[in-house]
Symmetry: C2
Subunit: 416 residues, 2 copies
């Protein structure tokens, strides 16, 4: 007997047949005696259809009106799911973001949740209802409809779980959990039983797109246990929690085990690399380079500065590939004023990262990574490290090889 | 410089191209210096699409959830229209029924408007915005979404015009006004410049389906001048008002004219006739027949009771054709207890009516009608009269002939 928040994404509710299946799943969960709050996205394709209509009328629609438009997608789903549940004898009641008063700021299209009024939900749960809430949307102080941005339904789910102090927040999606790496690249990739919030953030931001980063951050902040599961298959999924995988394991088995150092291999093909060579190695240079870049709304990911020998240095950073030409133009403009030698760029790169809370306390993890890549003859172009990850940039053509080599070197196919 | 409420139906906003045309029309009206509140329906087909989705899941969906579902249709249109207006430089702001607080009772799917909070609308108008309001929907005291039933957008428009004390409420539709009769039946049918609320009620309820009856009643009650116009063509349409057509004419021309007795010919093929013959002519018989009929939710239209000679009478009434078999079954059940002679029925009938406020004070209108029908050899099966109409039931096959004969007899093709 627990209180769970379920979140079903657009693919899971993409047709009336799938909505009926979700209703069955909810019914089974109710029959186990649990209280349920269900958050749903718009039926897959619906948000794009609505955006398409607005684009036909105006290529720069007002964000306020776009939010009014897009919020109808989830409203359709909540009603249909309630109707499907009532058909199979499950009492259910739907709420829009505005009705359940998911109060947000008024940053249309990317609003942030300020508070949730849980009184109506608790009253409904007490009456034996399944409560269905439209994801992705809220309302500001003035009663304007707001949306949380793409994927914001995950955030709605986590925020509701936090507000209601739910036992777990289940995110149902089209994959059955978080894997050690992309199974399309490594056959033997293994589903993780659990992963920490920090690891999940690195895995997600590095390209394993299972969950909204923002939802994971939110869950970490409010300590909401998150579980990623498949809508289509049975299975325990992956639990994302403050407990690391090992710590849990120790407690369960009552015996100590060697700590797995690396949890997974993430990768990303979306970046491009830019270098300004021969810039003076004096204070303020990094700022003089990056300020115009950020003012052009180009986000920078990795940054590496090599110390040269003749008071000159090479400054390298990566940006999203879509911003490559824009960034290149800015550097060309800076070259003269910075007395730099040359601007170089490369779009054919890939970033590969090993992720794991275990590596904090373990020496030798990075060198094991570099050795594995060296053995395959893969040259490392850039390196960046944090407490729970080591990322390298390599030639794009070596991406799959690098991921497989690292997956094997850290023995990720074997259960810890 | 006036304040107008415009209402555009589903056909008028059925595609993005048509929404863009509506935006152009609104822009022209703004350029004339008028303040505008615009009520829109769901894009044509959308409400049926949503009902179809819900029917696939549950053939008896909860009315609360159905209202949550259907209200998204108008919400999509308000946002798209605002977006279209902003594209052509017209400031606009959209509101759902809930946001503008169209307070209703909680009779889901057929809610009645209790009040409208006009503060936000007036503030927006003062700021130079066109205010766009979702038709057909409201919100109850508890914050539940309600709908006003099919065609309820007309009612929203009239209610807003009443609340704001607007100069006129314009109902844009796919016809360019109210005609003396259906132009598909009589080539020379003429568009009326104006018509009274009472006449419009008779014309609408009798089959000239231009406007929701409820909206006309509402407009009459609050004395809101209503104008029916085409969304697709220019033209003055037909004004529905407390002033009769003639009174206006007199004032305009400054000279007296003969009062046109009949404004239009309405007709209806949807009814069926039932007769219980040889029932005792004693008090209470009508109630004993009609109570079980109304308890079966069958609506009765015309009722005629002939006085017989031997303390027996024939009792005849009409119902919607869909209810014919049901009503017939009830009469068969009553036959024994009422000691009636027989039950007779006929589905192949049509009702034809002449409508006009002028006839109140004019004798001879009914006899002129009967004579015109007699000249064409059309037998009258039932007659029913009110202050502003005379209706007859005739064999269905004579419907067009009867309408043309009456249109010609009352010289309706000629402007008054």
């Amino acid at each position: 007997m627990g209180l769970y928040v379920h979140k079903y994404g657009g693919t899971s509710v993409g047709t009336v047949e799938r909505i009926a299946k979700v209703a069955d799943k909810i019914k089974r969960c109710r029959e186990e005696g649990h209280d349920l709050v269900v958050v749903v996205s718009a039926m897959s394709g619906e948000t794009n259809r609505l955006i398409g209509l607005s684009q036909e009328l105006n290529d720069r629609p007002s964000e306020r009106e776009l939010d009014v438009l897009l919020s109808t997608g989830e409203q359709v789903t909540i009603a249909l799911l309630a109707i499907a549940l009532q058909k199979i004898g499950v009492n259910a009641r739907s709420y829009t973001g505005s009705q359940v008063r998911i109060l947000t700021d008024n940053a249309y299209s990317k609003a942030r949740i300020l508070s949730i009024d849980d009184a109506a939900i608790r009253a409904d749960l007490a009456r034996g209802n399944v409560v269905i809430v439209a994801g992705f949307q809220g309302v500001d102080e003035q009663g304007n409809i707001t949306t949380l941005g793409r994927g914001g339904s995950d955030t709605t789910g986590v925020a509701l779980a936090a507000a209601l102090d739910a036992d777990e927040c289940h995110i149902y999606t089209d994959v059955d959990g978080v894997y050690t790496t992309d199974p399309r690249v490594v056959d033997s990739a293994r589903r993780l039983t659990s992963i920490t919030f920090e690891e999940m953030l690195e895995m997600a931001s590095l390209g394993s797109k299972v969950l909204q980063i923002r939802a994971v951050e939110f869950a970490g902040k409010y300590n909401v246990p998150l579980r990623v599961l498949s809508s289509f298959e049975e299975g325990p999924g992956t639990l994302i929690t403050t407990d690391g995988p090992v710590e849990k394991k120790i407690r369960k088995d009552g015996e100590s085990m060697e700590q797995p150092v690396v949890s997974g291999i993430a990768f990303n093909r979306d970046e491009a690399k830019l270098t300004l060579t021969g810039v003076p190695d004096i204070p303020g240079v990094a700022a003089r380079i990056l300020t115009p870049i950020s003012e052009a709304n180009v986000e920078v990911d990795m940054i590496v500065q090599n110390v040269g020998d003749d008071q000159k240095t090479d400054f390298t950073f990566t940006v999203h590939r879509n911003d490559y030409e824009k960034a290149l133009g800015i550097l060309e403009g800076l070259k003269g004023s910075l007395e730099a030698k040359a601007v170089r760029g490369n779009k054919k790169i890939a970033k590969v990262s090993i992720v794991g809370v275990g590596m904090r306390s373990h020496a030798g993890v990075a060198s094991k990574m570099f050795e594995a890549l060296y053995k395959e003859g893969i040259n490392i172009q850039m390196i960046s490290t944090s407490e729970i990850k080591v990322s390298v940039v390599v030639d794009e053509k070596y991406l799959e090889l690098a991921v497989r080599a690292l997956h094997s070197a850290f023995e990720l196919s074997e259960a810890p």
